[in-house]
């Protein structure tokens, strides 16, 4: 379960940046959304990791 942490942490900013880039290209507002969504991507990665760790520790506690 915790195996997916590196992948999620790494992928989130990439996905965020990608969508930001697309939005910028559509709206011509470079680099506003790129930066905004990149930051949101980092935050999303950290949040997902936090939730995963919480779920894992919960399950560990329950199995004890």
């Amino acid at each position: 379960m915790l195996v997916s942490i590196p992948l999620i942490l790494g992928l989130s900013p990439v996905v965020g940046g990608f969508f930001g880039w697309i939005l910028d290209r559509a709206l011509g507002t470079r680099p506003l959304f790129l930066i905004l969504l990149l930051a949101a991507g980092f935050a999303a990665g950290i949040r997902e990791t936090w939730l995963l760790i919480r779920k894992a520790s919960e399950e560990e506690r329950r199995s004890k």
Partner: protein, 394 residues
């Protein structure tokens, strides 16, 4: 923490004195400043983490986070711009602290590192032939990683025409369909006549379903587990059989291509969103995506939370798809390379003999197929669990 401080102080002192001898006092001061900054950073972080762990969410936590972000990052700017310290030496000092922290956290991180390095190794094994190919300037045509030839490549060997192109384009889909049909047939035959005393086929199917039932219900609870068992169980059985198909001569693993795993990831994505919509309702689902705003700060932050949640929802299935694809492709490529090596071992003798060099990797592939199917299923399960209505983490 204590261990980290000692390790980084000793290493930083050594590196600082080395820097003093080689580059002068300026370099050494920058390096020590980097170490000190890293330690202060780590300290703030551990205090913040302790606040979270002890449930003190309010003022103390906010204080540590604000200190970390504003004071410490302000310090960088002041040191580097105001005092004009060497950025490279600063970075070296900071890296020392980081390495020390990682080293003292190593026992708990070891499993993680091992897994990650294994994946990197497999990826490297795949990239190596690619790199060699690229450096030789291979002539056109879509390049694929070396694989054991399957039925379709054997049939179409040396032939041309529209049907050959069709077969190659839909190769993965065709095999996936075949496997799905075979598995469906096997399971429905096993469960056709349900006897009180099960025969061999029925016992096998029952064992599998019971095991999946335990797995899903153990994580989601009995009531919710039963509701999502059909989807998750189907995912597991389908992925496992597709992974294992690569070991059967003439078949290939459709999961070794991103088209297939991407489609599976899309299924999980849609299923999870649909679950959210159905279980939370339209308003509840929107509320979940906006980060459950309950006060003014929550409403101000909600557009940002929408982005964060949206990205999170996309990344989770995408990471599933990428991991499955990477692992199975690496495994198949490994087998393909070693089969080719073993087949060429006695090529000089012009005798039809070879060495089954790939035998140990078959065991590896068996384990990997199972583990990856399990990981995909259990992570999908967790994504569904996170979508279900219950106390949300914030």
């Amino acid at each position: 923490m204590k261990k980290t401080v000692w390790i980084s102080l000793v290493l930083g002192g050594l590196a600082g004195s080395a820097g003093l001898a080689a580059r002068g006092g300026f370099f050494a001061v920058s390096l020590l400043a980097g170490v000190a900054w890293g330690l202060a950073n780590l300290w703030c972080l551990t205090r913040a983490a302790r606040c979270v762990a002890e449930g003190r969410r309010g003022f103390p936590l906010a204080g540590w986070v604000v200190t970390k972000f504003f004071l410490l990052y302000g310090l960088i700017a002041w040191f580097l711009v105001g005092l004009k310290l060497s950025a490279a030496a600063w970075l070296a000092g900071f890296t020392i602290t980081l390495a020390a922290a990682a080293a003292s956290a190593l026992p708990s991180l070891r499993g993680l590192f091992r897994q990650t390095s294994k994946q990197l190794l497999l990826l490297g094994l795949f990239l190596l032939p690619k790199a060699a190919e690229a450096s030789q300037g291979a002539p056109g045509g879509p390049s694929h990683p070396p694989e054991i030839p399957n039925l379709i490549t054997l049939i179409t060997l040396g032939r041309e025409g529209a049907w050959v192109d069709f077969l190659h384009t839909w190769e993965n889909g065709i095999f996936a369909l075949l496997i799905a049909l075979a598995v469906g047939l096997a399971i429905s035959l096993g469960a056709r006549v349900l006897a009180l005393v099960p025969g061999r086929g029925q016992a096998a199917v029952e064992g599998l379903v019971e095991w999946l039932d335990n797995l899903v219900c153990g994580a989601l609870g009995k009531k919710e587990g039963r509701r999502y068992l059909p989807f998750l169980g189907t995912l597991f059985i389908f992925i496992l059989s597709m992974n294992l198909a690569g070991l059967i001569p003439g078949l290939k693993s459709p999961t070794s291509r991103f088209e297939m795993t991407g489609a599976l990831g899309l299924c999980v994505f849609l299923f999870v969103q649909w679950t959210g919509l159905r279980r939370l309702g339209l308003i509840g689902y929107g509320d979940h995506l906006l980060g459950q705003p309950r006060d003014l700060v929550g409403w101000i932050l909600s557009p940002l939370m929408l982005f964060i949640h949206g990205i999170g929802e996309i990344v989770k299935p995408l990471s599933l798809a990428l991991r499955l694809f990477g692992n199975i492709m690496g495994e198949d490529t490994l087998l393909g390379v070693f089969v080719a090596l073993g087949a060429m071992a006695f090529a000089w003798s012009r005798l039809p003999v070879g060495i089954p060099l790939h035998l140990p990797f078959i065991a590896l592939a068996l384990i990997f197929s199972f583990v990856q199917a399990l990981v995909f299923t259990s992570l999908s399960m967790i994504y569904i669990y996170m979508m279900l209505p219950h106390e949300e983490a914030h």
